[in-house]
Amino acid sequence: MTLFLVALGLCAAAAVAGATFPRGSRVVVSSVLGSLGCLIAFSVALRILLTGDTVTFHTAQVLPMTGVSLTLDPLGAWFVLASSFVGVATCLYNVGYARGAMASRSALSLFMVFVLSLLVVPSASSIMTLMFAWELMALSSLLLILTDQARHPDARSAALWYGVMTQLGAASILLGLLVMTSNGSGQNFADLSAHSSTLSPVTRSFAFVLVLLGFASKAGAVPLHVWLPKAHPEAPSPVSALMSSSMVAMGIYGIIRVGEGLLHGGTVWWWIAVALLGVVSAFYGALHATTSTDLKRLLAYSTIDIIGLVLIGVGAAGALADSGQPVISRLAMSAALLLVVAHAAFKGALFLAAGAVERATATRNLDLLGGLIHTMPVTALVVALSAGAIMAVPTLSGFSSEWLLLQGLLHGFSVVSTPTVIVMLLGVIALALTGGLTAVAFVKAFGIGFLGQSRSSGAAQAHEVSKFMTLAMGWLVIPSVVIGVMPGLFVPLLDRAASSALGTSTVSPFTRGAGLEVAQLSGAIQPAAILIGLVAVMVIVWALNQALAQRRARRVDAWGCGRDWQTPRMQYTATSFAEPLQRVFADVLRPQSDVEVTHVAESRYYEQSLVYENRVADILEARGYRPIIAVALRVGQFARRLQNGSIHRYLAFGFVALLVILVVVG
């Protein structure tokens, strides 16, 4: 545990260094301290997962009255593993990235506080510690969104949405946890867990629903997601990477910790609700990702999609545990946990790459990019591999996790109870629906952004970013490849985390080996062998191609259908690429498009200019949240009428209130 405290201390020291050191050295010093802290935290988490030990720590200092309680069990360690790994990369990235507002004292120290809070949340073991770390995480990320508000005017509205949603969520979590203490069990997780069975079923369900609302909103589950596609893109890229890979995972962590750890599973309906949230999120996120043209917004929506799949896994695990299937339940939980880590790595890499693109071209609008593979080859490779992982290309990490998820769902069908089977059915359908849509989204992101010809001068003059940034991106590609090719390496760790998550000690669903193999249930994949096969065929094909070719390939103009000139503007753009799907799903997306044609003065048959505009707004925001906000504003207007600045009236309010209290009490 001391080592973990050292890690936390290093992160805190990094925050202090960021705030105190002079301009020239503060970025480097705080980044080095921060990444060192994250590396140590990573090693601690790894050791806990290897041994299965649980370490605890308590001090009466730091927080008034309650002190700080930290416990790192395999479940918490699994999430620390993810956030510390991404933490190392973002600290490293920041060395190359931070300049201007992001290199200011406040931004640097807030960034390190954010990293620190992401390590504390999964290790907190009392209500106060958890809520303190949670608020630290929320506030530091909120302020970080605002660092570059001078250049990003949208950041203000994004921060407002985020601030309101996260505070409502935190209040809901706190309320839920407090409801759980209503039987006088104290605020330590161990006590809560031991005494939660004395709570009445209604109280337990009430507590779970409150906590679920808060955590699901942090995880970005639809319909509580509206802040996410605004806040994640507007934050500086290292912050976006942390938010999208680690912070959303904290929402998942919370649901598992409270639902399974503290409340011991509860009833099957909780988990059906979780899985339904997952199904809706997966579909909605994937659909919006395909139609987004802002690179970071696309990534944010795809986060909602993957989180949806994770929620399906968690929901399936809970429902299966309640239906008396502990082994399959553990399998589904493993799938969800593996997906969390895989997602943390590839989404972190993609956000960092998006930051690199934004730095190099001054835009993140895909419709203005293109041809970056020629000027930014390393970034292009990172995006290609990470996009491959998210598209579940076999032998990359997304595939291993989705395969496990499918195994969990498929074997879950053997359960008799109908509600559980429905969870499995909806999960399978969601998995199938999102697979193709995700592929479209990321073929678009890579194909339009990095291939073809540049669509703007910014994209044409791009240069590869600094070594630190490419190194950080490369670091985050490692898990995508390793989990994909050798998933067997992670199985013991994963299995321990899943069994600690469910609090059961059943036989492991896995057989040990290099690939993924599910014991008892027939199912196995050997990604390493598949990779060998793929590489072998590619080498043979390449060799044959070389042997057949008499000389180097000749460069010629592309086919122009008879025209003798072609401009980059004739290429398909991100908007036009997704247009067919947008049309197919018009009922869900409700796109708005305007066409404005100006004719030549002489004749109506000749057009002078044509303006086409296409917008896809978040329909849930427009139809679900705006009306509520309108009502709130109206209430606010009314309150303003009461509050007209007259001191007499304020005094009268106080007097009336006093009278009312007296009447009620008396």
């Binding site: 109908t418 509600p419 429905i422 009922d587």
Partner: protein, 218 residues
């Protein structure tokens, strides 16, 4: 013998639901009516298979009757009605075709959820299939709500009727002959009335799109 019975029953009941889905899928009114005919025959097959297995003579007669009325006569009449209009397509339903198909998938899942609750009361190889009938009812109702043309609406109504018949066949192994007779004749009557209505509607407003009936109200 028993496994053939179950397999045939499953196949026939599956065909009833499948033809309901097909009516949502196709736009051409004539092929919608053809699907309806297939459905009537599949429904009759369910009744006849059940009757042979349970040795119920009344049900056998019902089955033959269903075959005659719902498999042949009603579709024939509807075809004649649809011939009155040369533009025989359900051109723009209120909910577009892919969306209605996806919605139908959701309805099927829903009826599975609800249906298994009911069938768990008396599990047998026949009652297990009742969710398929329930799904047919829901799909029919959906068609009734979302299609514009009068003929399609009638088809929706008949789907609902067929679905109810399927559920009752499967759950009770046979409706009293008189009840089935009544409902079949009802459907027949509706179709005949529709035929008259269509003729007079076309004389008045040259269309049978029910949305345009609003104009009469204004």
């Amino acid at each position: 013998m028993n496994s053939t019975y179950i397999a045939t029953l499953e196949l026939a009941a599956g065909a009833v639901l499948l033809s309901a889905i097909m009516t949502l899928w196709r736009r051409n009114v004539r092929s919608i009516v053809a699907m309806l005919s297939v459905q009537g025959m599949a429904l009759a097959a369910v009744a006849i298979v059940l009757a042979l297995h349970e040795h119920e003579h009344a049900l056998l007669i019902t089955g033959c009757l269903v075959f005659l009325v719902k498999g042949l006569v009603v579709p024939h009449l509807l075809r004649r009605v649809s011939l009155l209009d040369p533009r025989s397509r359900e051109s723009r339903p209120l909910v577009n075709v892919p969306a209605s198909l996806v919605f139908a998938a959701a309805l099927i899942v829903l009826s599975y959820v609800v249906g298994t609750r009911i069938t768990s009361l008396s599990p047998s190889s026949a009652t297990h299939l009742a969710p398929l009938g329930l799904a047919t009812v829901l799909v029919g109702y959906f068609m009734l709500v979302t299609r514009r043309r009068a003929v399609s609406k009638i088809v929706g109504l008949i789907l609902v009727d067929n679905g109810i018949a399927l559920v009752t066949f499967l759950l009770t192994s046979g409706v009293p002959l008189i009840v089935e007779l009544g409902s079949s004749l009802d459907v027949l009557l509706v179709v005949v009335v529709l035929q008259f209505l269509m003729v007079s509607m076309r004389r008045h407003s040259d269309t049978d799109r029910l949305t345009e009936m609003k104009a009469l109200h204004d």
